[in-house]
Each structure stands twice: as C-alpha cells, then as structure tokens.
C-alpha cells in the first residue's frame, strides 16, 4: 500500500505538478495536426514568394486590391507585412481557432479527458494548462510565419527598409520593432477567436464543432462588418480593429485604434475564457 499525504493523496502527487505545460506541449507536438499547421506556416511564405516571383509581370499590379501588395517585394520586411496582411482575416483566425478549439474537445472525443480528470488534474488547472498550451502553440505559429517570411523574404527580396506604397521608408531597425509590435497586436487580437473556440470546446465533444463554430462566427461578423447601415455598432464586433495593426506603420504611430483593439480583444477574451471556466467547472463529463 502506498504512503499517503494528509489531503488523502498518494505520496508524490502534487496538484500543481499535474499536466505541466511542457507535458501538454509534448502531447500537442506529438500530434500530426500541430506539425501540419507549423509546416503550413513555414510553407506559406515560401509559396507566396514563389507566386510573387512567377507573377512579377507588370499586369500583376493592375489587379492588386491592396496597396501592400504593390510593395510586397520591396524588402523582406515588406514581404512579411504583406504575408501578415494576407493571413490576418482568415488563415490566422483558423490557426487560433484550431489550437484553442481542438484542445479540450479532442480529449473528450478520444475519451482521455476523463482519465486526465481522474488522475486527478484539477479541472481549473486542466483548463488553464490547456489554455496556456493553446496560446503558446498559436503564438508560436504566428511567430513562425513571421520569422520565415522575414528570413525567406529577406533572402528573396533583400534585407531592406520598410517601404510603404507612397514611398515612405521606415528604417530596418525601427521596422523590426514595429513588426514586433504588429505580431504582439495580432497575438492579442486573435485571442478573441481563440477564446471563443476554447469556450465552445468545453461545451462540445466534437472538435470540429468548436473550431468550425468559432471560425463561422468570425466570418458572420466579418460579413456584417461590411453592412454600412449598422454604423457604429460594428465597432463592438469581435472582428473590429482586426487591421488596426496597420496603424503601426504610420509616422507617428496612431495608437488610438490599437489601444482600443487591444482592450476590446482582451475584454472579449476574458469573457469567453470566463464562460469556458464556468461551464467546465460545473459540467458532468460524460464523454
């Protein structure tokens, strides 16, 4: 028979050591899904570089909707900005939704959730560790795509200054700093979709429902955002300010929308996270 602590726990069991972040990350990185996303994050900038190199004809410019496309090939930094611009509203949303939405629901689907809870990993701790692991993987994916774009873009287009569409330059050092700010902003803003997916993940046992539900919600808001008649209501959408990071390219930096975007995102993230914890604390695990 085992030696026992006063709490009734077996010797060697400490709640604060259960499901450590490193263990959860190891679990996540043993999954093909995680590896696949990261592979995609590496591949995407390379594919875009190839596309830009191939389509570097003159008529490509006439077709461009975004100003940033025109100058995407000006430097590695420019290319990175272009990649971020292209991925903000869809690709990164899906990545965040995947990492946050899959995390609890997939365990429920495998049936491993009950064993983890009976280990016992305290429920709040399980959720917290899952949340942190999802954050780490999501941000790592974001950083990966940025770094790969920066390096590969630099090799392809030169390690130069940021050049904006009307020809204003931002020096490379300053540009890198601003890029870090942009990645930071995106990491926070995307928490909205992430935490929404996380909440759904605690409700459903189907990972697809959590991931798809949150992405679908974001798309609905993105579409509603196009409806001018809704006026200032749109400022309160979870998708509001999703491109506010472009303000970081202004000189001087206009912090108004950024600030607002950060606060609003954190607020949404806090609410969704609180809902997730509240639901999970009371839930009967029947999966």
């Amino acid at each position: 028979m085992s030696t026992v602590q006063s709490t009734g726990a077996v010797a060697g069991y400490r709640p604060e050591r259960t499901l450590r972040l490193s263990v959860e990350l190891r679990r996540q990185f043993k999954r093909r899904r995680t590896i696949g996303v990261f592979a995609l994050m590496v591949a995407l900038p390379l594919v875009l570089i190839a596309a830009l190199q191939l389509g570097a004809s003159e008529d490509a410019q006439a077709n461009s909707r975004l100003n940033l496309v025109d100058v995407a090939t000006a430097s590695g930094l420019n290319f990175t900005l272009f990649v971020l611009f292209a991925t903000t509203s869809f690709f990164l949303v899906v990545v965040y939704a995947l990492f946050f939405g899959d995390t609890v629901a997939s365990e429920a689907q495998w049936g491993s959730l009950r064993y983890a809870l009976a280990t016992p990993v305290p429920r709040m701790r399980l959720l917290r560790q899952k949340w942190l692991a999802a954050l780490v993987t999501s941000v790592a994916a974001l950083v990966t795509v940025t770094v790969v774009a920066l390096v590969a873009g630099g090799i392809a287009f030169g390690f130069g200054d940021i050049r904006t569409p009307i020809g204003i330059s931002i020096a490379q050092g300053d540009g890198l700093l601003r890029l870090a700010g942009i990645v930071g902003y995106l990491a926070v803003h995307l928490l909205v979709v992430g935490t929404l997916a996380f909440w759904l993940s605690t409700i459903t046992d189907a990972p697809l429902a959590a991931v798809g539900g949150s992405v679908f919600t974001m798309f609905v808001f993105a579409i509603l955002d196009q409806v001018e008649q809704l006026g200032s209501i749109r400022d309160y959408f979870p998708t509001a300010e999703e491109f506010a990071w472009t303000d970081l390219l202004q000189t001087p930096v206009d912090s108004g929308d950024l600030y607002r975007g950060v606060i609003q995102s954190l607020l949404y993230a806090a609410v969704f996270t609180a809902l997730a914890f509240r639901h999970f604390a009371r839930r009967d695990v029947t999966s």
Binding site: S2, G8, V23, A116, I166, I168, T246, V285
Partner: protein
Amino acid sequence: MRPTAGLVRHRPRSGARAALAALTTALLSAALLAVPLAVPSASPARAAEDVTTEDATVPSGSGEDAVELDTTVYVPASATGDDPAPAVVLAHGFGGSKQSVADDARDLAGRGYVVLTYSARGFGSSTGQIGLDDPRYEVADLSTMLDLLAQRDDVQLDAPGDPRVGVAGASYGGALSLLGAAYDDRVDAIAPQITWNSLTTALFPSQAGAVDGATPAVTPSTGDSGVFKRLWSGLFFGAGSVPTGDGLLASLTGGATTGGGAGVPDVDPSTLDSAAVEQALTCGRFRADICAAYQVAAASGTLTPDIAAVLDRSSPAGVLDRITAPTLLVQGTQDSLFGLGQADANARGIAANGTPVKVVWYDGGHDASASEGDTADLRDLVAGWFDFHLRGDGTDPGTGFTFPVPTGVGAAVGSVQGGSRTETATDYPGLAGDEVQRTDVPLSGTTFPVVTPPGGNPAAITTVPGLGAVTAALGGTTVEIPGQFAAFDSEPLTDAVDVVGASTVTLAVSSPTGTATLFAKLYDVSADGSQTLPSGLVAPLALTGLSTDPTAPTEVEVTLPGIVHRFETGHTMRVLVSSTDQAFAAPAESGVYAVGLADGAVLAAPDVDGTVTSTSGATRWWVLLGVLAALGVAGVVVAKLWGARRRRQLSVVEPDGEDVPLRFTGVTKSYKDGFTAVRDLSFEVRRGQVLGLLGPNGAGKTTSLRMLMGLIRPSEGTISVFGHPATAGAPVLSRLGSFVEGTGLQPHLSGRDNLELYWAATGRPLEDAHLDEAVEIAGLGTALDKRVRSYSQGMRQRVAIAQAMLGLPDLLVLDEPTNGLDPPQIHAMRQVLHDYAATGRTVIVSSHLLAEIEQTCSHVVVMAKGQKVAEGTVEEIIGTGGAVLLVVQGDPERAAEVLTGLGATVERADEGLVVELGDLSRAEAVAALVEAGVGVDQISPRRRLEDAFLSLVGES
C-alpha cells in the same frame, strides 16, 4: 451641395437628355452623397427625448418672388409654453431638401432644441427658383423662418419677435447661415460647414498675388480674372438644372398635373412658349440671371463683371463685418471645391469685428466623407457650440483651432484603416495679431519653358471633383504632361516638415502675350521618386501684366493649396507649375511661358503647434479597461473562495477510511430531463476485496463509477474514497486507477507513448509508475511501440488496463475489463486481479455477466435500474455450500424426510427439491440418500439470485 438620393425621380423619357440626366445623377450621387452634414445626427443614445414633428407649408416673399416653402418643425417634449427652448434652423445642402437633414434635426431636437428644417426655394417640395443664397430671396426666406419661430410659444425669445436661435448647415446651407447672420441680427449663433467665403474666388480661383493676412490658410482672393473651375461648376449647375420630378413639366404646362396612365404628360405643343421651354430645359430651376451667367462662364471660361456681380451677391465675403453671432467654422481638408482658404477668409472677416470664431478642420469635405469617428466628433462639436452660445450650458468651446494631425504614410496604409487623431491649438493663428509660423524650405531649379498646347489638350489630371482624395491616395496617379510643367525641388528633408495651411513661394514668370494661366502644386516626392499630391489640390494662377522678356521675368507671389500634410524625412518637397489642368478651363491658344524661381525663393510652409488629442471616445476604453481589471480581480477572488471551500470540504475525513476504500452513501443521480440513472445507492468496499458490480446494461454501473471518479456530480448523497469525499479533482483520486468505458488512448501515439505521457501528466515521479509491471500486464511485446491506431480491440483494452494500473493504485476500478479479450487473456486477467487484491489493494470490476463476476470477484453488488438489488459475498450470491437443486429417482417425499432428518431445510419446486444443506456437505447428503434407497438423478448448486437477476436482465 448635398444632394440626396431623391434628387431626380426618373420619368420615362427618351433621348440623350435622359442619359445625361442619369449620368449626372450617378456622378453626383457617387461624388457628393458621402459629404456629411456635421450636425448632430441620429445617435440613439443621445436622442433621449420624445420628439414630435409638425409639417407646414409656409408662404415667403411677395409678388413674383412669392414661394411656398415646405417646412418641418421638430419639437422636443421638454419645450413647452411654460418652459420654452432655444431654436435651431438647419439648412440643407445644394441639391438636397429638408429630408436630407431630418436625422440631424431629430437628434438635435432630442438634445432639447426646437429644430426647424425647410426645403430652400427651388428644392424639394418648395416652389420657386434657385437664387444661390441671394439675400433678396433665400436669405429673406430665412428671416421668414425666424418670424415663424418667434410666433411659437415653445421657443425662447430674446425680445418680442426675436427668437433665441442658431443656424447651421453645410455647403449651400452653410453659406446661408453666414449670410443669414449678416442680414438678420436675430441670429444668435451659427455653425457653417464646408462652405464658401466668395463664390467668385471659389469658382474662378487665382492664387497669385500678395496675401493680406497672417493666418495659416490665407489665400489671395480673385480680382479681375480667375481660372474657371469648370468640372465642379458643371456639377454644381447640373445639380440645380436637372428638373426635379414635376418641375420641368409643371413649368411647361403652368403647373397643371399630368394625365395618362403611362406617366406620359398630356402636353399640347402649340400652347407652349418656346422661350419658356428653352429656359426650363437649359436652366431647370435656376433663376434666369444665374443661368445666363453660368452659360457665359461655361462657354468662355472667363470671369466677366456680370458673372462676378451675380456670384458676389451670393457670397458672405462682403458682409462678414455685419456678423456678430459667435461662429463655428468647419472646413474639410479633402475639398477641391471650397478649400481651406475659404474658411480662412471667413474667419478673418468675422474675427475682425471681435466676434468669437472657432475654426475646425477635419479630414473630409466635398471630395471625401469623414470617418465615422470624425463625424460623431463634429456633431458633438456643433451641439456643444449651441449649448454654450444659445443655452449657456456646458463648457466654453472657446476660440481655438482644431485640425487633423498631419500624417504622411498614414494616407496610404491608412486607406485600410486610418488614424483619426486631431491636434488642437489655443487659437487660430493670425486672428489676434500673432502670425502663423512658417518654415522656409529652400528650392532650386532652373527656368523651364512651359508649353500650353492648342486647345488646352492634353491636360494634366490632378483632381476629380468629389474624388480628389482618391487620386491622392492612389499615389502617383496624377498625370503630368511632359513639356507642360516646371518643377522646383527642395533638398531631401533632414527633418520631417509638417504643413498646416497654405504655403507660399515666389516665382518668376514671363509670357510672350503678357498673360498666362498656370497651375501650381506642391508634391510630396519620396526617396524612390514617386510623387504624391496631398489632397489632390491645385492652385490655379490667372496672371496678367507679365513681362514679355524671358531675361527679365515678373516676380509672382503664389499661394499653394491649403493642406494638412507631413513631408517625411528623406522626402523632397516639389513645387510643380503646369500649364494645363483637366479640371479647369485653360486658354485655347497655344503659348510658351518661361517659369522659374525668383531669386532666393523659398517655400514658406506654415505650421501650427498644438496638442495632440487621442482618438475620440478614449475614455470609453479606459472604462472598459477598468471593467477588465475588475473582472480579473473578481476572477481571482472567486478562485480563492472556491479553493477555500474546497479545502474545507476535503478536510472532512472519515476515521475508518483506510479500511473502507470506497463507500457510497445514499447516492442519487438525476438529470434535468427527469431521468434518474442511480437511485439511493449505498454500499461499502473493504480493503483487499475484489468487488463485482453486477447488473444489466443501463443499471447505472458506469454512472456510479464515473461519480466515484469525480466526473459526474451526484445529485444527492456522498461518495468517499479512503474516507475522503470523492469530488471532482479531489487529491485522494490519485490513489485511484481507472478504466471506464473506452480506452481513452490517443490513436496517433504508440502504446508506450500513451503510457508515458499519461504518467507524465500526473506529475508524479517516474519511479512510482512501475511501468515495467504495467507493460508486462499489457503483454503486448513489441506491438507496444506501434501506433494505437493499428491495435485490435483487445490490445487497446490491455493497454488501457495497464494504464489504469500505472503507479499500482490502492483502488483499481475496471469497467467491463474482459470485453474483447480472448479466453486465455480473460483467464490471465483474472489471475492478475486476484494477485493484485492479494497485496492488500482493492479492485472494483463491473460486468453484466454473472459468470464473469463469479469467477473473478470475492464480493458482489447487484444493480438494476439504478438501484441496488443485492450485495454480499460471491458465495452468498452464488450459493456454493448453500442451497442445491436435487432431482431424485423415486419418491421425493422419502428424500425430503431423509434430508430433514439430517438437519437440512427442504422446499419443493417444479423441477425438483430445493435443499438448504446447512452444515451438511453435498457428498454426505448424496450418501445418505443412496443409503436410504433414493436414487439421485441430479444435484446442482441452486443460485438463489440467478432467477431474479436473469429476469431483470430479460426485462431490460
């Protein structure tokens, strides 16, 4: 000039004119509709009061000029005869009607003002002809409106017949408010927006010559000659000349309504006066003198005294000295029709009387709509102006100067999402004696020959009316024709230069004819050579009296367009002078001018120091930040309280815990839908027991096991594990190993990885895991390193059981452990469980198979329909050494006698005798019967509960 969607109601007409009308409408709608009227607008949060409306048609003017004006008064509930409120007249833009300002009026009324809106003569449902804010007509109409307000008992009066009233409007309405304040001293405050100072200067600009002010955007006004702004003028005139609805037909048929189902009017051509037809077709609703002036201007492109007289009559420029009402001047930086210079002239003229003037520039105008944030800010600004100057409420808006923060790159990247910060200075420089500060930027460049092509074509393209900002934002889409311009560049800037207002430069120009028409522009040239024209604005120059000798050119002071723009470090400021511009009428004769810089010429760029205020409504975000912080604090507090409560719960320990590894006490689990899975279940498991939980499917076995694992919360009752309550995540659960309903293995990992990661998640030391023993139990050999995905059901089952036994838990819970195992494996598993219990640990096995329990367990709890049916040792349940079923050959009575004599209890049953042997062994009983001559046909254990159990199984 703010047309509405209802500008033209299309009638089925054919021919080019219809197409033209449609085109004009489309263009106007696209270009002008977006121009905001920055008056408090529909903002539901503020429209606190109930507002009622009163429509009326009001006669105004006399004789030939008598008209019927279509009016609406918006009355807030708070304005009554006992408590009268100040009034505001809202005037609409050109091409609009009272409907264009309905939302604004409703909002302002919601703030407690009696608001009067009306369609100006010649617009909407009002009759009459457009006089371009003529003091005799439109301004007199405004006085009629003030009379109307003075008669209302719910309007506050300064004196009998003199209401407390403010006037606001944009563009056409803005000029009306200026002229109204000049001609009618009953007006107490005005807020004109994006409007003109002098129509002559606006439509025939010439920005050459000395300026007579020290304000930021001071721009020379047109003297004898100017360059006709033909595209804008065409749109302006077009908006008024397109017959509105019945207008054309009514004017042709003397107001008779039209008949015919198809909407085709019943007009007898012989009754029509051909002059009237021509007038109606070419002039629409314009007065004849205005129409005539336009036709001359459009045809010749030159400013005649007649035209100047018409335009000056409609300009506030000449009467600014009469304005005593505090004035809020709002002008847009994206406005190629009425530029910043127009508001500048108004500000100088009004401030000269000592009248309070506040100047606001915003990022918008006739070329581009303001952002939502800007619009909301301007609404509040106008309301605040009236609150203070009509009601004496609120803080004094003062006489400061607000303008957008100059941004360079923002204009381009910001086309995705722009910033909207503003900068505020304490006053508008140059009004109170202080001069605007100017930065001198040296320019260089030789004298260029500049060619005017015959007919003025091809022409440079810089501005598209209503779209000026778009061309600027696209960057480099302005088109300059080689040979038609002279360019003078600064050195690349070592520091960024902010330009807030109109820069000046002195040029040296000569022309063989002594006259020249030129267009001066200030370009922002980036390091890579791409050039941007800020706001797409151009300064036309109509020059006369020039030297004809290129070696001795005439010096000309030029004021460049008023802009708010930052020229970034490394960029070059370029003054470009061209001979043509597509938006303006250029002389048809060809010519060659020599354009150079005057000696020592510098670009004098004005700048205004101010305080940058962050984006509007920032306080709201501070509030949200506060909420966020509060949520965080609340979350921490709740977590602490929850933890404390939990510790209290866990601290209750039953003293006999170590002997009773599991105890259910009155446990019930009901779901919301009324289904009760487990009802009042109580039992105990003692140390060293192998307990079987026996019951048919759906008996509540799995639910009970889940409850003991803390996965499901019992509705009632308690479950204790080793004396500690088995709540979710209770530490005591660490003594538990479980395998319940499904393996829970991650299919993409190998069996070994699954076991190792599971153990890693417990956070316990690796040496406690006894991994090798578990692996041995699983008995998978090398298959343990293959992916679980490839396993058979039995293999998965064994890995899962091995996982449950990791760390050799003191209480092992297995749900249907032998499912999917083959007979040798089942046999081995039984042995494993027996051996496990022999170490003093406890095992709970659930099954729906009696035989399974019989062979594996020492004790049994039988469940059915969520309730305990029976419990006891396996012997008790199965009946070994207890009752037997006896079938005899011969007389059963004799057999019963014999056995009863030996101390057994005998009952008769259909199939034979049921005998409770007591201390008697079966062998003794059979021997006694044979001795007594009773043949024994069959003797078998009689399972007392089996019948009951089987019937329960059968039922379920």
